[in-house]
Amino acid sequence: MMEPVLTLNTITKTFRDSEQNCPALAGVSIDAYPREILCIMGPSGCGKSTLLRIIDGLEQADAGTIHIAPGTMAGSLSVAMVFQDPALFPWLSIYENIVYGLRLAAQKVPEDEVNERATALLALTHLDSFAHSYPHQLSGGMQQRVAVARALAVTPQVLLMDEPFSALDTFTRRELEDEVIRIRDGMKTTIIMVTHNPEEAVYIADRIIIFSERPAVVSEVLPVDLPHPRDPAGPEFIRIRELVTRRVLGKPDP
């Protein structure tokens, strides 16, 4: 049995303000294995994004433990995140955006390696000819590609993606979903993606994790044992997609 690259053990989180307590996560436990693509789905506002923010350290859990395999090489982080909006730095060129993390003191990557990694990522994300463009000159889909490249630059063990393609049109979305699979195959990264789209989840995921209503617990884990590239019109694909949809909505099987 392979060692998990990420182990979440009964993660609990309640948002507190002076008015009320708002429980978000009520003991979430997940293992993620190397090179796995996990999709997290669940009702709106059930705490999926909160979980990603906790894994990344942007929020603190109230209880529970997180164990992440450390970065394997110099200048690499255990986790990196792609947000719903690309959030590129508009004053930096595409190249500078991608290498942003590598030039921080935490990574201390020598400049020729910075260049090497950037060139590889620009090729991987088909952005070669846009290295010296600025974010506002790129379409939404291309901006999100840059955000993915920026997160991958720090060679994370686990790439977290919080509804990364929800603002994109269907065609751009499909292209980027294919790209996620290519990245997993090429960079051997574990990917955990929150999505609201059952088709997207079945298209890319190895396992789909379904969260309950808030406060969230893992209500079901559905493996997707279909070979890539998957055909969204295939009967098995459609069956799993419908199953996922029913589970998220909490409807009984027919």
């Binding site: 990344d56 350290g57 942007l58 982080l77 990196a80 995140m81 947000f83 909006d85 959030a87 590129l88 730095f89 508009p90 004053w91 942003y100 993390g101 921080l104 003191a105 935490a106 990574q107 600025y134 974010p135 506002h136 920026r150 997160a151 720090v154």
Partner: protein
């Protein structure tokens, strides 16, 4: 390479038309009134403007007076920026610093700069130091307020990206907060340069000064030479226009991303 479009030329000529109209009305009124103590003719004003290096009213030339004012403005402006930007970054970034500094900022901000004149003279004596002090007091707050606003307006998500990539607090300020706030800080600099010009002229008009455009205007008023006042005002306006053009060019050169992110 920026080419001037037909639309630009049309817009410029619209602006020019209004200026010409005002000049014509002025000239007609001056010819009707026939009194240089009320309204000098354009001819008299331009006679002063066309000899900028000639001594005016037995004193320094127009250019010399302008240079004195310009020097005071630049000195005060850069001093104000040197204080206001770091304080603004601190107050905008840290809630703790805001708790300490915000009340004193809000109390001092509405005080008209010229009200500091008696203190300025008491502390620095009559002369350039007092004038520069008044300019600093005037230029400081627009830069400070805009820096604070700029820092607070930096998108939360940008800082989260930096935190996600393990940027230190200092790196977050240096690589995200400062560049993200810079367009708004720039607006503050632009506004405060205008305020600095108002302050220099007002400060130079006070008794005890002996050079500068404000002094020249007041001196000309005492001698009833209104055409010199008109010339001085046109020079002030032109310098303001030049400064604003530079600031606007800087904005479109460096912050073209603003509003398109």
């Amino acid at each position: 390479m920026v080419l001037i479009s037909k639309q630009d030329i049309l817009n410029y000529s619209k602006g020019l038309a209004v200026i010409l109209l005002i000049l014509v009305i002025w000239e007609v009124a001056a010819l009707v009134i026939q009194n240089n103590y009320i309204l000098p003719t354009l001819g008299a004003i331009f006679a002063v403007l066309l000899h900028p290096f000639a001594p005016v009213l037995g004193g320094e030339s127009l250019i010399d007076n302008m240079l004195v004012s310009l020097k005071e403005v630049l000195l005060g402006f850069f001093c104000a920026a040197a204080f206001a930007i770091p304080i603004g970054l601190l107050v905008g970034w840290s809630t703790e610093a805001r708790a300490y500094f915000n009340p004193v900022i809000q109390i001092l901000r509405p005080v008209p700069p010229i009200a500091w004149m008696p203190f300025a003279i008491a502390w620095f004596g009559i002369g350039i130091h007092s004038v520069v002090f008044i300019i600093i007091m005037g230029a400081f707050f627009p830069i400070l307020i805009n820096t604070v606003d700029g820092v607070q307006g930096v998108r939360r998500r940008w800082t989260e990206v930096a935190m996600m990539l393990h940027a230190t607090q200092f790196e977050q300020v240096r690589t995200v907060v400062v560049p993200g706030a810079l367009p708004v800080i720039w607006t503050g600099l632009r506004v405060s340069f205008g305020v600095a010009w108002m302050c220099v002229v007002a400060a130079e008009m006070l008794p005890g000064t002996s050079a500068g455009l404000g002094f020249l205007i007041m001196y000309a008023y005492n001698l009833g030479q209104l055409q010199v006042i008109g010339a001085g005002m046109i020079i002030i306006g032109l310098i303001g226009l030049c400064a604003d053009t530079i600031f606007r060019a800087g904005r479109s050169r460096f912050f073209s991303w603003q509003g398109r992110e």
